[in-house]
């Protein structure tokens, strides 16, 4: 089979910029589900005061936020993500596209970290199931 003209396109997986966009909210989702499961199983199977599992909830939250922080670092370092507000990344170039994805990923990291914080708070406040 002859190879016709085909502009070289970056491969999705090698490039990775789509994955980094959904990575941070995925960590929020995982943290949320694990917190829910830990609480549900604790309350249904073991019971007792939540004070005993408080450290698990705090540790899970910290680990998730640390992971999200790591992703934010990747978004900044590898994709050149910035925290601009009024400026827009509209240039028609591959680096601009990468910066745009880095920027959106960075914003999602912040949102996800805030949302993880929201989930941790009740774990620290509630004392019983």
């Amino acid at each position: 089979m002859k190879h016709p003209t085909r502009p070289r396109a970056p491969r999705l997986i090698d490039d990775g910029s789509l994955w980094i966009v959904i990575a941070a909210p995925s960590i929020w989702a995982a943290h949320f589900l694990i917190s829910y499961w830990v609480a549900a199983i604790w309350c249904a199977k073991i019971g007792g005061s939540l004070l005993d599992v408080r450290w698990i909830i705090a540790a899970l939250g910290l680990a998730s936020i640390a992971l999200i922080g790591l992703l934010a670092l990747v978004a900044v370092r590898r994709y050149g993500g910035t925290l601009i507000i009024f400026e827009e990344i509209t240039e028609d170039s591959r680096p601009a596209r990468e910066r745009f994805m880095g920027h959106v990923s960075l914003l999602l990291c912040i949102l996800s970290a805030v949302a993880v914080g929201f989930t941790v708070i009740p774990g620290l406040v509630m004392q019983t199931c």
Binding site: R6, F32, A39, A44, I89, T90, M101, V104, M126
Partner: protein, 851 residues
């Protein structure tokens, strides 16, 4: 020119304009793309026609559900009313909610997206036009079936969320619950079909050059929402399956006497139900995000912030489902998690609204009918959003739960967040669809009637709710003190309806003799307004290189270049409908995709599938089976004749110095992506079953100890068999690639044998342990998992034999292996399914036993 040297930023100039060539090209494009005439029009698959049918049908169901709403309001107008019997009232409010959600709110997203998306993308069509048509016919048939039931007094009457045991126990609910379950499962097929179409459309059918940072906001929203459908609808399909198994065959899932739990249904329903709210909200907000820049005459402020919000909302909205279940007695710590997520989702939702407001503030917005509706939408939605923050708080929700306060809240969010933006879209895109303009004065009347009527109807409900009026109540006593407020609501609802009638008349008014509007009548920046007046069926005359978010504003002379055929694919020399498929990140052109034209096959496929679901409602299993088999046969014929043809030449010149392949297999092809996306949805439904298993394990102390253990050896054999079905398929792919088609056929025939034997071993193990699905929830869950797996083994069998036949017929070859590549992907998912099933059947109980 070699492929590496090809640079989209440095294209050779277009050939000089030649009028005769232009004319000939236009003629060929027209013959290729025009709709069939007469009654054959119904066999059309072009997105502009299918989208229009979708739109009109959704609005027809909206009118139907709206009339039901007026019946409800009439019944509640005065205390002690018996305008409707209690039984009919139950059917009316159930069908009102059901039709509004399933037959209007979700399909209208698909309708608008199918109609507008390809044009915004500057594409000729979406990559699977026949799938869109199939989805439409499923929607029409299922919708008519579900709605029609009320004329026979057989409509579902358990409320739109069909809580068990009201819905699971045949003593409490008649055939209506089956109609709901099977009719809507059937419609969910069309939603998932549309989701596949739209995701692949946004990812792979963008015009060359439209990088992700240049993609219009509407496309981002479509991508996000279609993705949400894939994760939200399948758990409901799993729930529907369990509930119908209980209703039809007495399997024990929701009956507490047999280890079941009605709460399982609530979980599965709301894992669907809450994201669903955002599934209907986001696409409408997307309409505002598209309309607003046009009338502000400037790009949206915070484009990337809106993208972030859309993605953020999509994720967070999956963490809200339990806020519908705050009063069912879950641990308070669990409730707090969901309360926290419900508050968190307000953050990205707010960001979007602030971006809209900021854009309006910095620009001088041109007053217009679409903006009037958009403004009204924001006002109503913000109000509903604020009461949403209230009911997201557990203590407040305990007070307001199942009262009219909730009714008021949900209508404020849905009508403000979904309906008003949609009407803005109707007025905005009316000239795009019809090339005429609506009557602006009547439009203003329709807005103020609806805006006033809506607030008059629903604002008082906050008070009736706080005063204690429960939702869904048939009637009330004058001493309850709700009479005046209810009368006000009823008057408001009729004013609202009058406003809608004005809108409907305005939109449907025949304007054939009116002067057409000028091209790009609103002076918008997005590609759909590049359409010529009068419109042509080909979508876009030539597919341009896009270098901006608002190409019509930023790329001077673009319209003329498109019209003169200076861009890609200006011709249809072979008389085939063709699209350019581009890559996901930078939209570099990859290959030319041929899409099939009009056909009756989808209508027949939908008819047979619909019949199969409908007769299953009445437990006529033989007819259901025959009809199901006919569906399979038609689908196989459709695939055989309509997909993955070997092209007459391997490449094609598409203009501007670019020659592209005409065939693609594997991860670059649209078919592969469709399989991947469909199977992601399928996997989500399976996860719904897995959730059920662990849910029961959590709530039942003796979930696994009610029967003797299944023999491990047989389970292992079953596992090996189904894994063998996967392994042999992978081997077949290798054989074909190594140019040994005979060996590939052999492996493809051996594969299902292994799978079926494996399934038999699984079933034998379950029978050895004496598992009886009607006895206990554990038995029922195990059998449900096995049923799910066996359906997938059977599907694999069909596809393996089909692909073997394709290889034998010389359609699937070493150079053109698309069928086999797609099949292999399917079996990867099958392998994951069997691994998880084996873990739950054998590994998890063993592990627990060892603890």
């Amino acid at each position: 020119m070699t492929s590496d040297a090809f640079d989209l930023d440095d294209l050779p100039p277009a050939e000089p304009y030649d009028e005769a060539r232009d004319k000939a090209q236009r003629e060929r494009l027209l013959t290729t793309w025009q709709s069939p005439k007469g009654w054959r029009y119904l066999s059309d698959v072009n997105n502009s026609e299918v989208g229009l049918w979708y739109l009109l049908t959704s609005f027809a169901f909206f009118c139907f559900a709206g009339v039901l709403a007026l019946l409800i309001r009439t019944q509640l107008a005065v205390p002690g009313n018996d305008f409707l019997s209690q039984d009919l009232y139950n059917q009316v409010f159930t069908l009102h909610g059901t039709a509004m959600m399933f037959l209007f709110a979700v399909p209208i997203f698909e309708a608008v997206a199918i109609l507008v998306l390809p044009e915004i993308l500057g594409a000729r069509d979406l990559p699977f036009p026949r799938l869109s048509a199939f989805g439409y016919w499923c929607f029409l048939i299922g919708g008519v079936f579900v709605c029609g039931s009320i004329f026979f007094g057989a409509a579902p009457d358990g409320g739109w969320f069909m809580y068990a045991p009201l819905s699971s126990n045949p003593e409490y609910s008649g055939v209506g619950a089956d109609i709901w379950l099977l009719g809507l499962s059937f419609i969910e097929v069309s939603s998932i079909a549309a989701a596949v179409e739209l995701i692949v459309g946004v990812l792979k059918s963008r015009p060359p050059g439209m990088r992700l940072n240049q993609m219009p906001l509407y496309c981002w929203y479509v991508l996000v929402v279609a993705g949400m459908i894939l994760f939200a609808f399948p758990p409901l399909i799993a729930g529907d399956l369990l509930l119908e198994l209980e209703r039809a065959f007495g399997w024990a899932f929701f009956d507490p006497d047999r280890g079941g739990d009605p709460l399982l249904w609530q979980h599965l329903f709301w894992i669907f139900g809450h994201p669903e709210v955002y599934i209907v909200f986001l696409p409408s907000i997307a309409l505002i995000a598209t309309i607003l820049p046009t009338f502000a005459s400037r790009p949206m402020i915070g484009h990337s912030w809106i993208v972030l919000s859309a993605v953020g909302v999509a994720f967070l909205s999956f963490g809200l489902w339990v806020h519908h279940m705050f009063t069912v007695g879950l641990p308070e710590i669990s409730l707090s998690f969901f309360s926290a997520a419900s508050e968190a989702v307000a953050v990205p939702t707010g960001i979007q609204i602030f971006c809209f407001v900021a854009t309006m503030l910095v620009a001088k917005v041109r007053p217009s009918l679409p903006m009037l509706f958009a403004g009204g939408a924001l006002a109503i939605f913000v109000f509903g959003g604020l009461t949403g923050v209230m009911v997201a708080l557990v203590p407040f929700d305990w007070q307001a739960h199942d009262s009219y306060f909730v009714v008021a809240h949900l209508h404020y969010t849905l009508i403000g967040g979904m309906l008003f933006p949609l009407f803005a879209g109707v007025y905005y895109w009316y000239p795009f669809v019809t090339q005429r303009q609506t009557n602006q004065k009547a439009g203003k009347w329709s807005f103020w009637l609806m805006f006033g009527g809506f607030n008059l109807a629903f604002l008082p409900m906050h008070w009736t709710g706080v005063m204690g009026m429960p939702r869904r109540v048939w009637t009330y006593d004058v001493t309850d003190g709700w009479a005046v407020l209810n009368m006000v609501s009823t008057v408001g609802s009729f004013i609202f309806a009058a406003g809608f009638v004005v809108l409907a008349v305005n939109v449907l008014w025949p304007r054939g003799k009116h002067a057409p509007v000028k091209r790009n009548v609103w002076n918008a920046g997005t590609m759909e307004w590049s359409a010529e007046v009068p419109d042509k069926p080909w979508g876009v005359r030539s597919i341009p290189l896009i270098k901006s978010r608002y190409p019509l504003w930023d790329q001077p002379g673009l319209l003329d270049q498109i019209d003169r055929g200076e861009w890609f694919l200006p011709d249809a020399k072979e008389g085939k409908r063709e699209l350019i498929v581009t890559d996901i990140l930078d939209a570099r052109p990859l290959f030319v995709q041929r899409v099939p034209g009009p056909s009756w096959l989808m209508l027949f496929a939908a008819l047979f599938l619909g019949t199969s679901f409908i007769v299953a409602t009445y437990h006529w299993w033989t007819v259901a089976l025959i009809s199901g088999a006919a569906f399979v046969a038609v689908t196989l014929y459709w695939l055989w004749t309509g997909t993955a043809h070997i092209p007459e030449k391997t490449e094609k010149y598409v203009g501007r110095g670019l020659t592209l392949p005409t065939y693609e297999a594997g991860a670059g092809s649209v078919g592969w992506w469709a399989v991947f996306i469909t199977m992601t949805g399928d996997m989500t439904a399976f996860v719904g079953l897995v959730f059920s298993y662990f849910f029961f394990w959590t709530v039942l102390p003796d979930f696994m100890s009610t029967t003797e253990a299944m023999p491990f050896g047989w389970l292992l054999l079953g596992f090996a068999g189904v894994l063998g079905q996967w392994g042999l398929t992978v081997a077949a792919r290798g054989q074909l690639a190594g140019r040994a088609p005979g060996a590939a056929i052999g492996a493809l025939i051996a594969a299902p044998v292994a799978g079926v034997l494996g399934m038999a071993a699984f079933a034998w193990a379950a029978m050895q342990a004496g598992l009886d699905p009607t006895r206990h929830s554990f038995d029922a869950t195990i059998w449900a998992l096995l049923l799910w797996l066996s359906v997938h083994v059977a599907l694999g069998l069909l596809m393996q034999l089909y692909t073997a036949a394709r290889i034998w017929a010389g359609i699937c070859t070493p150079d053109f292996p698309a069928d086999l590549r797609n099949l292999t992907l399917y079996t990867h998912f099958l392998a994951v399914t069997v691994i998880m099933t084996f873990a739950m059947l054998a590994v998890f109980p063993l592990w627990l036993g060892a603890l």
